[in-house]
Every structure is written in C-alpha cells, then in structure tokens.
C-alpha cells in the first residue's frame, strides 16, 4: 500500500480523498494555490505545499509544480480528484514515467475515453448500443447528410468536449449550417480542437450513468446506476441512486453493458459509463468518464462501498474484495449540489461564508471543505458543498433532504439551497417524472 499520497486538487474532493487516506493510515500531502492557504483541505493534510497563484493554470493545473511537490515531499502516489488534471492523459503519463503512481486509469485509457468520437467508434465495434450519430465530421455536407439519415432534431458535440460547451441542438435542416459553424468555433475556443460530431437529440431523455470498478487483474463490477437527469446547461445539479424508473431487470441489463464496455478495452480503476435513456427505456452509450465523479457519494450510500478507498486499493494492486453478486443496493440516496451562486440567475456568488452550520442526524452526509469564515474565491468552481441523504426508500430520502435543506445554514453568500427546496416540493420530481429538461421550468423564475 502507498505510504504517502499527494492530492492534486482542492475543496471538497481534496478533503474527501484526505479522509479516505486517513482512514487507511496513509499520509497525505495537500497542494494549494496561495489563496487557498487556509483551506480545510490544507489544514487536514499531514503536509502541504503551495504550488502557485490563484489562477489554476499556474497552480492546480501546473504539472511541473504538482510533480515537484510530490518529489520534495516523497509522495509515492497522486490522487487527481475530478477536474483540473484528473483527465489529463499527459499528466498521468508523466506520473508513470517518474514512478509516481497516478490513482486512476492508465494514460492510454484517459486519452482513449477523452476523445469522445473515438470512444464511440470503439464501443460501436464492441457492440455497445450507441446513440444514432456520426464520427468526427469532415465537412458541412457530411453533417447535413448525417442529420437527414439520423432524423431531426440532432445535436452537435465537440469530440474533445464536456460540460456542455461546444454543443448545439438543430431542430430543422435550415439551421444546420450555422449551428455547425458555431459548434466548431466553440469547440476550438474551449478545447483547442474544432472537431465535432452529430448525435440524435432526444426530447426529455434521462441521464443514467453506471459506476464501475475494475481491478488490475481485470475483475470488473458495476455498482448500480445514478440518475443525473436534473441538469442545468448540461451541468448536473442533483443526482440520485437508484433511478426511480429503472427496475431490477433493466439495471442488470445496463450494468452488464457498462461492464462489457470497459472490460472490452481492459479499463482499470473507477470509471463511469454514461447512457441516455429514452422514454421507451432504450439506452444509448454516450461516454466513459475516466475519473471519480462529483456524484459518487450516492453510490457509496446505497452500496456501503467507499469508492475513493477502492480507487486507492486498486491503484496499489489490490484485488476487488467482492464479486458482482455480493453487491447489494440498500435504500435510496439523493445528492444536492450546493453552489455559491445567485438564485434564479445562476451566476457565481463568491464571498465570505460568515456562518456555516451543517445539518445532522440520521441519514445525512455533508461533503464540504467550507467552514464559518471560509472565503469562496472567484477563481474556481462554485460548488461549495454536497448534501447527501440516505433513506429506506425514495420518499423518505426526499423528506429527509427537505428537512436537511431547512437545517443547512450558509450565511454571507447566496447558494442553490432555495432552488433545491423548490425541486423537493415539485410534484413531478416527487413522482420521479423528470428528464434533462426538467430544470427549465425553474430557470424562468420562482413563479414559473
């Protein structure tokens, strides 16, 4: 097992990894930018190294500084968290080359899954059901022909993409040219690569993803699905597990497809296979995320498995301690992402958290690196806390989330707590009738 792990991240996920390391008896090194010097993740680590100024490209994304920090502290492994360097194949490669274990898949797998179009091609060859769509488009003419074949509406996506950038929905043929160009330009500016591809665009689909774990020997299991249909501009805001619309049979079917998808390419460590689920419960492969995800806690809550510890154990060469049939899903879990942002308008709202009091009691989990007096700086992601609940069933989980949101005290900045309260009170949400378009009704304002 590793003796010392450097956590190349900040905020709640850095603290999450430190907690797992402490429980495993592994020493930890926090890295931080200068504005984060007093953060909780820095104070909770055994050692800490300042690696640059606030700008993440000069600190958290600064590969030489991160690796120097590993070098000077003698860390034998690096956990990248999510974001920043987590899906940077080059970083994983350099780690491998200097003998520091990168806790995650190999650089080859990161690169493979990072190229969305190529990943789709590979999966298509392995017989994984794909969204009707194309590979990388060479020309406008090809785009037009493909769109006709697939049938409108269609959506352009960047092959290097993620997070909703570079995406464009096209409802009819005459809008295609402009959308193609805009998507290319956005892809270029966001990812430095203007390659785009086309996919069928579904009305009111659900976003379903399957957590998988694969050890170094290739044993692969799935840990149930997460329903992440409640999104805003392709950013997840609330996730739950299990999905309210997936039954035992469909769960096994999607789970087996997910395991097949990653096993076919000899994928290792934790990963997530994302699917789109249409109204008729057909599911289509979208992509593989080769990192731990923000919403991993809902899976932990219903399986009892600590995913970060599993990542570390797998990276250290330990085999999975269980088989598929040992994994039991118990109860229901929901996660609400608490972002520092103005309600309704969704613009980031940095500032000082003058008072922070977490909800408590049975079935409540808070993952956050915020405390009373913390300063939410404008340089990074606006998510400041994840509120996760577990209940015996979905109704209890919703009731518990409502009372936990009522208890949560965050003063000094605006957050998404009021929005989550409205979601909890929504009759459609309560019945599980949501799709990726669900949140649109809330974006028009409180009275909409």
């Amino acid at each position: 097992m590793f003796k010392k792990i450097l956590i190349a991240n900040r905020g709640e996920i850095a603290l999450r990894v430190i907690r797992a390391c402490k429980e495993l008896g592994i020493r930890t090194v926090a890295v931080h930018s200068d504005v984060d010097a007093n953060s909780l993740h820095v104070r909770m680590a055994d050692e800490h190294v300042c690696i640059g100024p606030a700008d993440s490209s000069l600190s958290y994304r600064n590969i030489p500084n991160v690796l120097s920090a590993a070098e000077v502290t003698g860390a034998d492994a690096i956990h990248p968290g999510y974001g920043f360097l987590a899906e940077n194949a080059h970083f994983a490669e350099v780690c491998e080359s200097i003998g520091v274990r990168f806790i995650g898949p190999t650089s080859d797998h990161i690169a493979m899954m990072g190229d969305k179009a190529k990943a789709r091609e590979i999966m298509a060859r392995k017989g994984i059901p794909l969204m009707p769509g194309t590979g990388e488009l060479k020309s406008e003419q090809e785009a037009l022909e493909s769109a006709r074949r697939i049938g409108f509406p269609v959506i352009f996506k960047a092959t290097a993409g993620g997070g909703g950038r570079g995406m464009r929905v096209v409802n009819k043929e005459e809008d295609l040219t402009r959308a193609f160009q805009t998507a290319q330009a956005e892809a270029k500016s966001s990812f430095g690569n203007d390659a785009v591809y086309l996919e069928k665009f579904f009305i009111e689909p659900r976003h379903i993803e399957v957590q998988i774990l694969a050890d170094e020997k290739g044993r692969t299991v799935y840990l149930g699905e997460r329903d992440c249909s409640i999104q805003r501009r392709y950013q997840k805001l609330l996730e739950e597990s299990p999905s309210p619309v997936i039954d035992e049979r469909l769960r096994r079917e999607i789970g087996n497809v997910a395991v097949e998808a990653v096993r076919s390419v000899h994928y290792r460590n934790a990963g997530t296979v994302e699917f789109l689920l249409d109204k008729d419960h057909n599911f289509y492969f979208m992509e593989v995320n080769s990192r731990i995800q923000v919403e991993h806690p809902v899976t932990e809550m219903i399986t009892g498995i600590d995913l970060i510890k599993e990542q570390i154990r797998i990276a250290a060469g330990q085999p999975l301690a269980y088989r598929q049939q040992d994994i039991k899903l118990v109860g229901h879990s929901i996660e609400c992402r608490i972002n520092a942002e103005c309600p309704d308008k969704f613009t980031p709202c940095p500032g000082t958290v003058t008072r922070f009091h977490q909800p408590g009691g049975l079935g409540i989990r808070v993952d956050s690196a915020i405390e009373s007096g913390s300063v939410v700086v404008p340089h990074y992601d606006s998510m400041i806390a994840k509120l996760i609940v577990h209940g015996q069933n979905r109704d209890e989980a919703i009731a518990r989330m409502k009372r936990a949101l009522d208890e949560f005290v965050i003063e000094g900045i605006k957050t998404t707590i009021p929005l989550h309260k409205r979601i909890m009170d929504d009759p459609d949400f309560q019945k599980g009738r949501v799709s990726t378009g669900f949140l649109e009704r809330f974006t028009a304002g409180p009275s909409a």
């Binding site: 010097a37 120097s68 000077v72």
Partner: protein
C-alpha cells in the same frame, strides 16, 4: 530555465492611515466610513485612530471566525497568519522597505551551484539586479533565481537543500543600502 521573482512588501503598508487622510473637523461621518472600508478591505479586527482630540475605534467580530483570504506568506501555519494583520500597523510605522525574493516554483532550495562550491551570496553581501542568488531544483532542472533589485542581502530565509514552496520568501534585500 531562469525565473525571476521579487515582490515589494508595499502591499502590507496600505492598512496604515497616515496623517494626510485625517479629518480636520466635522468629517466624522466620512472618516468612520473610511475606517470601516479599511477594516473590510484588510479584514482587520480592530482599528483605532486618535488625532487632534479625536479618537475613532472600529472593531469587528471576535476574529475567531474570520480567516484571511489572500495570504502573503504561504507555508506559515494558520496561527501565524492571524497575527499578521495585527502586526501590519506596527510594521508599517517602521518605514523599512525590504524587498522579498520569493520562490516562483516548488522545488529544492540550494544556496550554491554544487555541494562543494561557495554560496552564491551570504547575508550582508551587496547584490546587483539580475545577480543569481540561489538555485531551486524542480523536476531535475536547476532554476536560477535572480535579484530584481540592487541592494544588500538583509536575511536568507530558507535553508539549503530543503524543499521550498511557491511564494515562499527566500531572501530579504535592502534596496536602500549602498556599498
């Protein structure tokens, strides 16, 4: 690869209300506003001004919950930092203006080019702008750190062959000194 870094310690002086900003009379309102602004800006706990028979004191919180945002000296423990804001006023009075040479990267600090060579500089030495003061090794690369000012080496703050982090002060240079 060469990197330069020298930051003036002037940022810390701004908290100091000097004579010119003091009120003549009747500007009580404006003055209090100004002090509150200063308090907010510098996240101070208390600010007291006495001038021509007028005394204004502004205080906030117990301070226990307030954590400074921007920290000028990473690597110090949190407890030290809290002290800083208190020191600010006192230090600003002393009109000293030392230049701090901070490490621009994470790595290992070396005072000499090789283990058996002499140090680049010692305390008390006079240095020129652009003169190499030390090496910080990172990723097997030796990064020479140069002075950005002419002056005398007032203090060497890091120990040779020990790790340094980004922004860690390595040297204090007194730019007012002349050989």
């Amino acid at each position: 690869m060469k990197k330069r870094a020298a930051t003036r310690g002037s940022g810390r002086k701004q908290a100091d209300p000097d004579g010119s900003t003091m009120p003549e009379n009747n500007h009580l309102d404006k003055e209090v506003h100004h002090l509150v602004e200063l308090l907010n800006q510098h996240e101070l706990t208390e600010l007291e001004v006495e001038h021509k028979g007028m005394r204004i004191r502004v205080r906030r919180g117990g301070g226990a919950d307030t954590i400074p945002t921007v920290v000028s000296e990473p690597g110090r423990a949190g407890l030290d930092r809290k002290g800083e804001s208190a020191e600010t006023a006192a230090q600003a009075l002393a009109a000293e203006a030392l230049a701090t040479v901070a490490s621009p990267i994470v790595g290992t600090f070396y005072r000499s080019p090789s283990p058996d060579a002499d140090p680049y500089v010692d305390e008390g030495d006079f240095v020129k702008k652009g003169q190499v003061l030390c090496i910080v090794e990172a990723m097997k690369l030796m990064n020479e750190i140069e002075s950005e000012v002419d002056g005398r080496v007032h203090k060497i703050l890091a120990e040779s062959a020990k790790p340094v982090e980004y922004g860690q002060p390595l040297f204090l240079i007194d730019p007012t000194a002349t050989p």
